[in-house]
Symmetry: C2
Subunit: 298 residues, 2 copies
């Protein structure tokens, strides 16, 4: 029998509870605190000896604190004799630095994944990682759950929508949504200056006139990319623009930037903690994740 153990963060607990109840598994929350000097203390109180443990850790900012806490939890589980450790971290931080763009850079996500693997994480479950390349740096087994078709259907999107990826890297993501809905998909060629961070966009022959557009992306960070894409699509005659994004980091000002650019609704998931606002539709993706994990466990 497997046991689900969640980290200290409120959202880790929430996701752990949802998963445990769907999978009908035992569930425990790590105990812990911060020492006065800022170091993290954790303790896994239930017995995990010879158990298959699924650790649930939410990685919203501050990501570094979440990561170090997770490293300590994994060490504690190994120490306590767990027979295997599967990590479910719905949002994988540092996944956008999945290669060396400029000489002298790290592959940050590789550092994160190697460290976790070296400590004892054998399997990794993530939701819509930024790229397959990011996940290729994990030496163990990986499941990358794509919840977008599920999210698109639950959000009531239809086959008449035009599904747009705001960059070439997201084409297969947009296509997975379009196929599920029986809709068309296309992309905007986004060019990001790695040094200044500025973005320029080339919509090419894309014609959104009179269409209800859904921009599909993996991560909403500052909202800059999505706002720019929305503005261009509306300028070119789109009737409406919605955003379907898996991970909303919920950074200050991001929602305002995106809605200010004409986006009428943001459909996102609970891979990260979300605000309760009319303009944001939050879809619980634990049913999809539970399905993947159940397949392993059976």
């Amino acid at each position: 029998m497997a046991i689900i153990v969640s980290g200290l963060r409120a959202h880790s607990r929430l996701l752990g509870e949802l998963l445990a109840s769907r999978l009908n598994l035992r569930f425990a929350v790590v105990e812990g605190k911060r020492f006065p000097d800022g170091e993290v203390y954790v303790r896994v109180t239930p017995s995990v000896r010879e158990e298959d443990v699924i650790v649930v850790q939410s990685m919203e900012p501050p990501q570094n604190d979440a990561l170090v806490e997770l490293m300590l939890i994994v060490d504690a589980l190994v120490e306590a004799g767990a027979s295997s450790i599967t990590l479910f971290t719905p949002y994988l931080p540092y996944s956008r630095q999945d290669r060396v763009f400029l000489a002298g850079e790290p592959v940050s996500v590789r550092a994160v994944l190697r460290a976790l693997h070296s400590l004892g994480v054998g399997r990794l479950v993530v939701v819509e990682a930024h790229s397959e390349r990011a996940l290729s740096h994990f030496p163990g087994r990986v499941v990358n759950v794509n919840p977008l078709p599920y999210m698109a259907k639950l959000a009531g999107l239809g086959g008449d929508a035009l599904i747009v990826s705001p960059d070439m890297g997201g084409v297969s993501r947009a296509r997975s949504v379009a196929e599920a809905l029986g809709a068309r998909s296309c992309y905007i060629a986004k060019v990001r200056d790695r040094v200044t961070g500025s973005i320029s966009m080339d919509v090419g022959s894309l014609d959104p006139r009179g269409l209800d557009v859904v921009i599909v992306d993996d991560i909403m960070s500052t909202g800059g990319t999505l706002a720019e894409a929305s503005r261009i699509l509306l300028e070119r005659g789109a009737r409406s623009v919605q955003v379907l994004v898996v991970h909303n980091l919920n950074l200050p000002g991001a929602l305002e930037k995106v809605t200010g650019a004409g986006v009428s609704r943001i459909i996102t998931s609970n891979t990260l903690p979300q605000p309760r606002l009319d303009v944001v539709s939050v879809i619980d993706i634990t049913p999809v994740v539970a399905g993947e994990i159940a397949r392993w466990l059976s």
Copy 2:
């Protein structure tokens, strides 16, 4: 030829510069920033291909940010073809959780050290780690520099002082100071309740009447231990109490607590950033560290 590369923090740069100038080695500072979402970005701009690199990272709070930044730097150095990576982290965080005190706990310092080793750190130089046990968890080569005799002499302490360790674990530390000064040493039996954190002290047959006492410790965190020891020693008739501590975390209120308990001077080092205050004497320990590293390099 080796090259010294320091992390982004001001104190990492300061220590890197001091070491590089003493060792007459090339010196470079990592470039970097924080992304809007809080992720760290680093870039090592000088060529380190086939170089022996000494990374200097100061680990003052917030320690988790320092640790993750360090992990990324190490990944970047490996990616850039460094032939070896030696880490100089004068203060090693998480070193007090060097064993399992209660079932279910991690050995936190092991998680930190294993992760760094797995990413490519082959050698580790630290200053007065909390325990040899803490360092035993690093799979590579370790040098644990004891700067206390050097610090005691530079601070002008004499053979007439009574050197006191505030707990049994620090006896050899106090003894190293006493031997260097030709002074006597002894210890207070400190009992810390792992759950509540409360401390009780048993001075036994120790008689500090009329003596100038120097309490020697590795880490000053909240100052609770040092304040309590000072109070007991003054109550028992000590003429004066000074503190000689390698790592002062400089937490809010700690200095006030210690001076409020009658400590007349805190002698500490620059393993961590220090305040400029009359009551704090800061001793640069990079000469001692440079001596150890020079022995390796020769």
